[in-house]
Symmetry: C2
């Protein structure tokens, strides 16, 4: 392994000088501990010694929403290109090496993060770190890589989006919801911009964001914090921070003054539905109660068989084949609170929407079923406990939260915050969010005539 | 006058070396001629020797749509700040000097340009050039200027936008129309971003865009091209081009797949109305026919007392107090084709919209009244002829077109292009634009209950 452009400590110095000492390890509970490297890398260790396996995840605090305008999709494109050659690895060798060592791995891109992970036998952790640190700075992308991999991501867009009216509809609804913030741009990219993504666009993103002071390293499994610290110091420690890393300040939303609607008509739509999204606050570090209230509100309204929307629309009135509400609070900036109703054949989208509005209004006007709320809370507590058994799931949860501006403390406090939410908190949070002016209502249909 | 950071030719050199010869002057007709300076400044001279007056206009090919995300309003903010101090002028002295010389002047910002002009006695032209060239590179903005002038632009937003429901509605409709392009962001800026505009944001825009290779100089009135060339060489010629001027490539629109709607409710609305905008192509250099057809289509549909919408809705059916259609084709990127109906009291917005749709559909299904089309064309020809009498209006027309990617040739050919448009051209252009999926339909109302 060699070190690339941002490496300050020459190899010789490594041999004769001791490493700088990293900040002290904080042990949060019997499973989670964390520390920082001097170069700004945040490291979280999640222990699970039941099997000799580790999950090694490197998360960059940079996703699609950090792209410059006009190059949408470049974050995800770069994620693909990270499997090409480095100074020491051939193109494709990264994945081959993981597989040859009995491991598996992959990568993912979202609005707020880009992540890479491998699941391997615990004694292969160092190799993973060595290779992951290598491609943080030593990537060698060629014009040929750009041409071939660009075809791959465009084909990915074809499969995931162009061939799926619901996905296209979601894109258009999203773009209508966000008036200013880049969350209105799809993660995979607008097709016409993907088609022109080039080497310079990709390298510009790589050089700006791929640096240790922009990462969270999560190692979960049969490993101790002490072991992780030694290895992380050895492999990630020599990479210097990018002093020009920009603050994560995306353009924020202006006041929303007008309810928006859209109709997406596509002959391929088999099941028409209504979907309404409201701009909603996200979990904020040290201030998570509103988000917890919205999450519980969504669960009461539309999560599962016992939820209000499902009970009323699906079982009592039989006007819907499916109804749901969801809220994803783990987000760096303003997120969405969404409700969906899929009407039974014969019920129009206008009726479906009126039904949805009525059921939500009744919910807001009436008392909350406290036994229902308690069941939801109990279920969430149980899920938190079961989640401890799945280190990869835990690692994901930590990565998503830490790249969305939250801290380990926030993550660990979350169950108590959820527990503390009252009926009044839920009503207050929902009534602020369920404002017409904050909403986009979309109709997905095979035939616009039926919606007029 | 001194020269600022981008000036390569020292003053001494000016005294001993002849100027580089500018490109040859092109004389387009008996009124319009043009040439370029070596530093990339495009110069257009419009002669009118009937009165000893000139209009001096400097247009930058940079407007609100060239701003970086997150600093909306900075183009317009800088326009205000250009009246502050330079190396040699005190803050406010620019305007005082224009007035003391019996002139008047102002400035304006749009999506595609920022412009500055003075109307003065012809013998004061050189002084205007000297001062305008000075502030292109020698501006000295202070933190105090930022604080005071920021209050001014925020107050301007209050007056123009916040206090006008129609303007707020237009902003939200615009943001919903553009899914990706910065035309969706208001020229004056989103309030929350205006409030944080700082010195660095402003200087960054100034240093990037205020350079001679990003300008069109238009001098109109009692002056010859030869005189303008001597003065422009003397005052603008020594300013060097900005070699890092970026290409004007804004993020373009993705495919629009879903008709959008919005309802803007504001108790201050005295007269509710429905407004629909369609994304529409702009005039392209060498290819202006579609735009000419759309302009004629808008005129047929909704320009004035004899237009189809007005005749039908206002006079025959008496369901509207006002109806109009308009299209502004002079734009660097995709523009809008807009129709508006203001219903009479008692007619709902839904009815008004249905009426609008019906009348437009009838227009599209039936033959075009060729006498009507001919009257419109004759009227436009007459306006072109009368326009020659108003040099300031002509100068504006040239400035808008030249900063929107058009050429002098395009501008001069425009009347013939309009003349050549046939009934079939209009129908073809309209039928491509009047697509639901390209549209945003907005209702402005004082009471959302009435629109449900």
């Amino acid at each position: 392994m060699r070190f690339g452009l941002r490496v300050a400590v020459p190899v010789l110095a490594l041999l004769i000088a001791p490493f700088a000492v990293a900040a002290e390890t904080v042990r949060w509970d019997d499973q989670v501990s964390s520390f920082n490297l001097d170069n700004g890398m945040e490291v979280v260790v999640i222990e699970d010694h039941r099997a000799p396996v580790v999950v090694h995840m490197l998360w960059y605090r940079a996703g699609a929403a950090d792209e410059k305008p006009g190059v949408s999709g470049v974050a995800h494109f770069l994620e693909h290109l990270l499997f090409k050659a480095t100074d020491t690895l051939e193109s494709g060798e990264f994945s081959k090496t993981v597989a040859a060592n009995g491991g598996s791995g992959n990568a993912f891109t979202s609005q707020d993060y880009t992540g890479y992970y491998q699941r391997v036998a615990a004694d292969r952790l160092e190799l993973m770190m060595q290779m992951e640190a290598d491609r943080m700075v030593n990537l060698k992308i060629t014009e040929a890589d750009i041409l071939t991999e660009r075809e791959v991501i465009i084909e990915e867009r074809n499969q995931r989006t162009e061939n799926d009216p619901g996905a296209l509809f979601g894109e258009q609804a999203n773009a209508a919801l966000y008036l200013n913030h880049p969350y209105g741009v799809p993660i995979i990219g607008w097709r016409h911009e993907m088609e022109t993504l080039g080497l310079q666009d990709t390298l510009a993103y790589y050089e700006q964001f791929y640096a240790p002071n922009n990462t969270v390293l999560i190692v979960a499994g049969d490993v101790t914090p002490e072991e992780v610290k030694v290895l992380a110091q050895r492999h990630y420690g020599p990479i210097t921070a990018n002093p020009e890393l920009p603050a994560r300040a995306r353009p924020q939303e202006p006041e929303h003054n007008a309810a928006r609607r859209l109709v997406f008509e596509d002959a391929r739509v088999a099941q028409p539905y209504v979907r309404r999204s409201y701009l909603a606050p996200e979990r904020d570090s040290g201030d998570q109660k509103t988000a917890a209230a919205l999450m519980l509100g969504a669960a009461l309204l539309g999560d599962g068989q016992t939820s209000v929307m499902t009970q009323k629309l699906q079982f009592e009135e039989k006007s819907a084949v499916y109804a749901t509400a969801f809220y994803r609070g783990t987000s760096l900036d303003n997120t969405q609170f969404t409700t969906v109703v899929v009407p039974v054949p014969g019920v129009s989208l206008r009726e479906a929407e009126d039904n949805m509005d009525r059921v939500i209004q009744e919910f807001m006007d009436g008392p909350i079923d406290l036994a229902h709320l308690d069941r939801i809370k109990r279920n969430m507590r149980a899920q938190e406990i079961y989640a401890k058994d799945n280190v990869q799931g835990l690692a994901n949860k930590f990565g998503r939260a830490l790249t969305a501006g939250l801290t380990v403390k926030d993550i660990l406090e979350w169950p108590d915050v959820v527990e503390s939410v009252t009926e009044a908190d839920i009503k207050a949070a929902l009534s602020k969010v369920l404002e017409d002016s904050l909403s986009v209502t979309g109709w997905l249909t095979s035939d616009a005539e039926t919606v007029k």
